[in-house]
């Protein structure tokens, strides 16, 4: 239950960090909040030769909302973002409250949770729901990886070993959009068995102008509920239509069963949570003037 030995590097700049990652490649791991990585080190599920601790890289500690996006630097802790989001992005504050416990969120970072890509975790699904992206810096420069191209498999992203996530970006919903978030876990703070995040906004005639649904705990990656979004967009929303859309989203899933929940149970709960979150989002919508 103690980590295997590793070399410890504590760079002060992004450039130094990228240089270290380029030099050590797959032998190195980035340490930010450590709330997922350190358990894996302690259990020796991860045995990196080099740990690159970015906690001293001050330029990664930014939180900035501009032009419809919120830019969250790689050192922003979940607890601080949660406080910001209460007034600016309630869907995110609600999702963050479900991430571990306060003591975990005081250290854990938003970007780190995205990069860790746990399929049962809230923030990767939120990135998908809010059309977000990860900004990655590598030896070859910077690139922006949209959420839809980021998550590949459990704990696996399309980022290269020499790339550092410097920031994650979430698009800010229109002010009249409603939102919903729900998950089923054995206990508060546990990993979700299944969860859902939804956004909905209406046009002047009361029809659905846009819908976003993301589900987690239902496969190797978070999944966008594209079928539900298509069924709702352009339609007058009703309880029946939302149920139909939620069922369609769940029918497209191929969840795995494990000792925590069977595949059938996950599909059923996904349909229920999709319906609940879309219904909550509709209830919070303000009609466009």
């Amino acid at each position: 239950m103690k980590p295997a030995p590793f070399d410890y590097l504590a760079p002060r700049t992004v450039a130094e960090t990228v240089a270290a990652l380029s030099q050590h490649g797959d032998d190195a791991k980035v340490l930010a909040g450590g709330q997922s990585l350190v358990p894996m080190l302690n259990l020796r599920l991860a045995r990196p030769a080099v740990l690159v601790d970015i906690n001293g890289v001050a330029e990664l500690d930014h939180l900035r909302a501009a032009e419809g996006l919120v830019h969250i630097g790689a050192l922003q802790r979940q607890a601080g973002v949660e406080r910001w989001a209460v007034t600016h992005l309630p869907l995110m504050s609600e999702a963050l409250r479900a991430v571990g416990h306060a003591a975990i969120r005081n250290r854990g970072t938003v970007a780190g949770s995205v990069a860790h890509a746990d399929p049962a975790s809230e923030l990767p699904a939120l990135l998908l729901c809010l059309d977000g992206a990860a900004v990655a810096r590598g030896a070859g420069g910077e690139r922006v990886v949209p959420a839809a191209e980021l998550f590949r498999a459990p704990l696996t992203t399309s980022l290269r070993a020499d790339e550092l996530v410097t920031e994650v970006r979430f698009s800010l919903p229109r002010p009249d959009a409603g939102w919903g978030f729900a998950e089923v876990a054995r206990r508060h703070g546990d990993f979700a068995l299944v969860g859902a995040a939804a956004l909905l906004w209406l046009d002047g005639s009361g029809r659905v102008a846009g819908a976003r649904l993301a589900l987690f705990g239902v496969g190797g990656t978070p999944v966008r509920g594209a079928a539900a979004e298509a069924l709702l967009t352009g339609q007058a929303p009703s309880a029946e239509r939302i149920r139909e859309a939620a069922r369609a989203a769940a029918a497209a899933l191929r969840p795995d069963g494990d000792l925590h929940a069977s595949a059938g149970y996950r599909s059923e709960v996904a349909a229920v949570l999709a319906e609940r979150t879309l219904t909550a989002a509709l209830g919070r919508c303000r009609r466009a003037a």
Binding site: G34, L43, A103
Partner: protein
């Protein structure tokens, strides 16, 4: 390759030597001889090792000692004034909020920060806060009662003992 770690623990400057892989929890216990911080699961689940880092609760098993250089740590040894008990500790004793006591230091530190930020919590808020700390003896009920009993006393005596969180 070991490193010197200089930090503040319970208001005092302390120094020790740590291999990078040494956790803050093991550093406190084995290098600084502060064995009040208990190590349970060693992967962030049980909460027994919770200490305050610059006033905020964190898992000491999930932080490396070398990362604590220059920071301020509060452990259970720093809660009581002199030889007595803090109001929260007294309430745990009065209400039988502990049996074996293994989880107690982590719960006390988590609760100290919680009551600082939320001086008159509801029972539901207390229960949610306790969700991050496992107790295998009490069934939590007496812990909740102890915290409810302590809250007004802590609020009345709120000292500047623990650093307030930095404004964001």
């Amino acid at each position: 390759m070991t490193r010197a770690v200089l930090l503040t623990v319970n208001g005092q400057t302390r120094e020790g030597v740590a291999e990078p892989r040494l956790s803050l929890a093991d550093f406190l216990r084995e290098v600084l001889d502060l064995t009040g911080t208990h190590v349970g699961c060693e992967h962030g689940v049980c909460g027994a090792c919770t200490v305050l880092l610059d006033g905020e609760p964190i898992r000491a098993c999930l932080m490396l000692a070398v990362q604590a250089a220059g920071r301020s740590i509060t452990t259970v040894e720093g809660l009581a004034p002199g030889d007595g008990l803090s109001p929260l500790q007294q309430a745990f004793q009065d209400k039988h909020g502990l049996q074996c006591g293994f989880c107690t230091p982590g719960i006390l530190l988590t609760t100290e920060a919680f009551l600082r930020d939320n001086p008159s919590p509801t029972r539901d808020e207390i229960r949610e806060m306790l969700g991050g700390n496992l107790c295998r003896c009490t069934g939590y009920h007496l812990i909740v009662e102890a915290i409810e009993a302590a809250a007004p006393i802590v609020a009345a005596n709120q000292p500047a003992r623990i650093h307030a969180p930095k404004p964001t």
